[in-house]
Symmetry: C2
Subunit: 97 residues, 2 copies
Amino acid sequence: MFRHVALFRFVPEATNEQRQAAVEGLRGLPALIPELIDYRVGPDAGLGADNFDLAVVADFARPEHYDVYVAHTAHEAIASTLVRPILAARAAVQYEC
Amino acid sequence: MFRHVALFRFVPEATNEQRQAAVEGLRGLPALIPELIDYRVGPDAGLGADNFDLAVVADFARPEHYDVYVAHTAHEAIASTLVRPILAARAAVQYEC
């Protein structure tokens, strides 16, 4: 399995509506991108003081499917309209697992 | 399910042996901490220029089990001896999924 992990920190001015729209937009992607065999998006539970705000973990059968996901117009639309406008920091890793 | 995600960036001086020892040490934890129902640790595949170096994704049945993991002596031993000495940055999120 090939896994993509991305953690996002939002700008302090990001509203709850904007944060929720990012979560819901991302959660719609598996219906549009069949290469996503498992896709779990959620806001941080608030257990750690320095935590980031949002997690995305995407599982693919093969590394090439990660490229399909990144380049997919639906993913790009959500990223550009709902995530990047409120983004302060992003940390990512892709790995075989 | 309750998921813990942590991404680590290592200091540039970290040797390949140190990086590998961190991976192997972490991968030994599921045998010692039964609350880890799925635990996938791996080095970044090198697809993104700004990526972090190592991913840990830990799945638990319940949020309290994350606390058990964090406080477990085996986890603390690996973190303090193999991860923190070469750590430059860490990003984490825990979330229901």
